[in-house]
Symmetry: D2
Subunit: 342 residues, 4 copies
């Protein structure tokens, strides 16, 4: 059986497992105060060209989104997201569990529809200037993910537009980078230092990109109060914090993070090319490791004898929307076996 | 100057003020355990034909929505509302302050678009049956207001449809009755016992209908745990609870609540008729005390020398959307003065 | 029957009722933006000699404590209180409902035991300097009430000591003034300007001192972010906000607040004197309107035919602890009738 | 250098690392729905002799305490704990972050003082029967840890007493088993099935007992609603849930959990014996892997050239309280080296 369901089906990159094995009986101090975390923080700051950034390590993406947004928002503050945004639809109300509303705006291919965003902001400030802002959820931050839930990525121009909007309206820009590696490894004009320069906070995803688990939060705007006390208060502090440090230290040594990301993307591009060649219809044009295609149901029935993928929804009559997803661990053999089936 | 801005610009019905004056130096027990509250509860149960309903008195509408929805929801539960719903746009994230997401669905004239609601529910249960419901905000209740924020009301058939949907999907039906009197006094086939029969919980608004302040929560579904401890925990317990009891006891004596509501509606109908006669264009066909009209800006400029109204937004070129709002206290003289200006 | 149960058994001072009656049909803007609130804010700032203070009006004491402490605290911050403090024992976990722990320290006669407080702080900072502060609830504010729940008051020297401790440890000082009038009217060296000068935030209680309901929050430290959005977010915004404004405007006109407070205190002193003369044993030496006495059960049985009081707890064998409480409305006749019974 | 600071300084038992290595490139479904989790759940139910228990896997102890207590409590409910309880002093207000107060009662050697607990409950129900329970935090559960933060353990008789108190007062009994293995491996009359029989919910700690990370929550009382949606809502769902399953499956195969726990305890007993022989004074008589001793400062100064331990606090003049802590990984050589230094 082949598996193209998701990018979190395997364990960790072998170099990570090896280091965990090698230091297993060393004695480490807890809670992220160990030298591995310190080294990883340093390497991440360097990779981001953000020497003053604050870096914290957390376990998972929903947890990370919760904590960063809670650090950005108080009282009636809320966070703007595309209506397809992960925090709006797949996180079980975790943002709301901290008291903050997700303000959904229209999307295009999984990305915030920037004109719709501007229209919302103009209307919001016009309306509240009449009625008083206290009756409304106050937009405090814009949440985007890149790659998005549909595999698409923001261009540099789009990120700069969002930055300008944030500057105009006094908003933070927060980027969910659960799959950041796969975005950076794609055909893109955006680099990690661009992300660090344009966002006020973001996270570099480990869980889906080579780690057993873990996300690295990077706070570049010192106005954002993000404390270790907040992490513990929300139950997110890991006793053996060095497990996170070792993983990110490995991922940010010799460019491993980007190198393994490139594998996922190039395997996805092979699949995409093959699907296009065979006349399958893309749901969205994704340059990253997630490929969404509309497949006729007869083909699907045939495929599912041999392949696992993510079934999304029925599309039109007789067709369905499915996702093929590669990862850092996807092999040539797996892809070739898939291609043979298409 | 004339004021048609809103229905909470005056104090209380004189009979209420008189009773507050008469009992001012009596000694009452606190926290809603007094005989006035008890009497008011009894009269409300009778008016609702709901002898087993639980009745609590709270200060304001946002507070009431927060508490009832918090009582209905746990964990990742959320509440469905029209995207124009008061809890979705005018309550400053109060529902989210209790950890619960407002799930917005399309509206028609301020009411939930019932086909869109059904489509959402079908899609939700289809999607979560594949992926696992734990990643989603779980719909637990439907929130509606009647009259809505646009003055429209649900028909009996619509309420019964919503009840059936709730029964199918295991949802509570909660009705925000901030202006309930003005809905019951309108040309409608819905009575208070219908509301009590079809909703699992609702509130009868006092603040906008004759009281200084206060809302009466009615819980008809005993599965909903709504406790005095919850009220206090959220800072909503009033020390001199009899102030609420006396007001609702007065409003539910000799049908005062409905009688004064009728005044607001009949004054609004006079204004509506006059506006229609003069060729003004209604934004929505409202049978209650709020009338939304699209007025050309020259007329508005002239009117605002003499009248206050709620300015909503620019409509198209040269026109604006405004609201004229009557209340239980609106007089013939005030309405005639307005009509003379149109 | 006589009633000395509490100080929130009557309605409002007649001057307040009269003004509410007089303006009942005036048209007011909502949400505390009316001229009565503005006037009341001005008078309160003057009475406090705090021209830059921010003043907000809320409905009740628990609500006020919740909101001010939520404005002071973030994340793992907590608030220190005497273990008998109202927020620690009588508010149903309202502070915790906002995510903040109440850190209880020892008390003496209802007041924080200052040496115990200092000992806690020294130990806390010593311990956390070893282990890392992120595992602990971080003290951010000290909550006191004056008068306390036992009727005692802090002296100027004690308040200055607390201020110095707050300055040393970077804490806010917050004073719950539910009965502030009765403290200021007592034999004390503390004035309202002293309170305003020494506290970072406090509230002046109206519910127990002449108003139907309402508390005036005074924020003197501009570092504390207390917004109208916070008020609405927690469901505490009153639509007809002028009801609060009118009440506090009346209370702070011609020194009414203090004048009516003096009545409660002088009536209480008469009762206290009589109890002492008859050999009753005070549980605590209170100079304000609450008198706690240990009474033998035979006497209690006799009294309760004619008097209501607050029963607190059995004391030792054959005696009980009870409270006699006066208010701004207590009359000479009522006190004389009580004295005749003792 | 020797390290006796804590029991979470090493990675995982080699058998765990080996299995993680062996399955690293297998494709697993996420979120704890994999066969390893299923197998681990089955083995834990068997070890607990609790065939109907619900078992969930979480990352850390604070997170686990938060979620279980949030599942037990609503509104103004709170949880009783010893004032030295972990949730009361070392979890940064995580319980309060979910809105629930920790009600602290006296302790003896780190355990709840049972007579003090009963006294609190009797007084609470007496007081609230007079005043109304809605003003109070309502005790809903008793939290204990065994072993406690001081290394002591509850006897079977004590657990049965607590169970009886819970039955009398309608409370849940929740046991924090962060170090449960070290308690079961001690000289005790309590078995895991006893824990499962007497508690309504508890957790079996992995982080401190052989796992990289992870705690197994066991819910034996079906009245407690603990859902996967709750886990996700609080940001605690792990994408690669099988990492937890594999670890607990390994720990509960061939009694590994207990076998490795015994090592920690027997090493601790050797240290304890040596300390006693040399005349060191125990702070508390602990039968588990944590040993608290009062050591004179000269000795400490000499020791700390060679040994790391947990420094707790200055005791009396010239002495300090320190903790020596062993783990599943502590070796004979390490202990002998320590003994040579004493």
């Amino acid at each position: 059986m082949l598996y193209f369901n998701s990018d979190y089906m395997e364990g960790a990159h072998p170099l990570i497992l090896k280091r965990l094995h090698d230091i297993n009986f060393d004695k480490n101090v807890g809670y992220g105060l160990d030298p591995y975390c310190e080294s990883a923080r340093k390497k991440i700051r360097e990779a981001c060209q953000a020497p003053d950034a604050e870096v914290h390590f957390l376990v998972g993406g929903t947890q990370t989104n919760m904590l960063v947004i809670d650090a950005m928002c108080r009282f009636n503050d809320g966070v703007i997201a595309a209506n397809t945004g992960h925090i709006n639809v797949h996180e079980s109300g975790a943002i709301e569990s901290c008291g903050h509303k997700v303000i959904a705006v229209d999307e295009v291919d999984g990305k915030i529809n920037i004109p719709a965003l501007e229209q919302y902001l103009v209307a919001f400030y016009k309306e509240t200037s009449e009625v008083g802002i206290e009756h409304y959820v106050m937009p405090r931050a814009i949440y985007i993910s890149t790659p998005t839930e549909l595999g698409t990525i923001y261009s540099l121009a789009e990120l700069e537009q969002l930055r300008a909007i944030c500057d105009t309206y006094g908003l933070y820009l927060y980027i969910d980078g659960a799959r950041m590696g796969y975005g950076l490894a794609a055909d893109t004009d955006v680099s990690l230092p661009d992300i660090a320069r344009l966002a006020d906070a973001f996270y570099i995803g480990g869980t889906k990109v080579g780690a057993l688990f873990g996300e690295a939060v990077v706070i570049t705007n010192p106005d954002i109060t993000f404390t270790r006390g907040l992490i513990k208060h929300r139950g997110a502090m890991v006793a053996k914090g060095w497990l996170l440090g070792v993983q990110f230290d490995t991922l940010f040594t010799d460019d491993l993070y980007l190198r393994i990301s490139r594998n996922a993307v190039s395997q996805a591009m092979r699949i995409k090319q093959a699907l296009e060649n065979k006349g399958y219809k893309a749901f969205v044009d994704s340059p990253t490791n997630q490929q969404f295609y509309v497949v006729d149901n007869a083909t699907l029935e045939r495929l599912q004898q041999h392949v696992n993928y993510s079934y999304i929804s029925p599309a039109d009559d007789g067709h369905s929307l499915v996702r093929f997803c590669t990862s850092w661990a996807t092999t040539d053999e797996q892809v070739e076996a898939l291609l043979a089936l298409l």
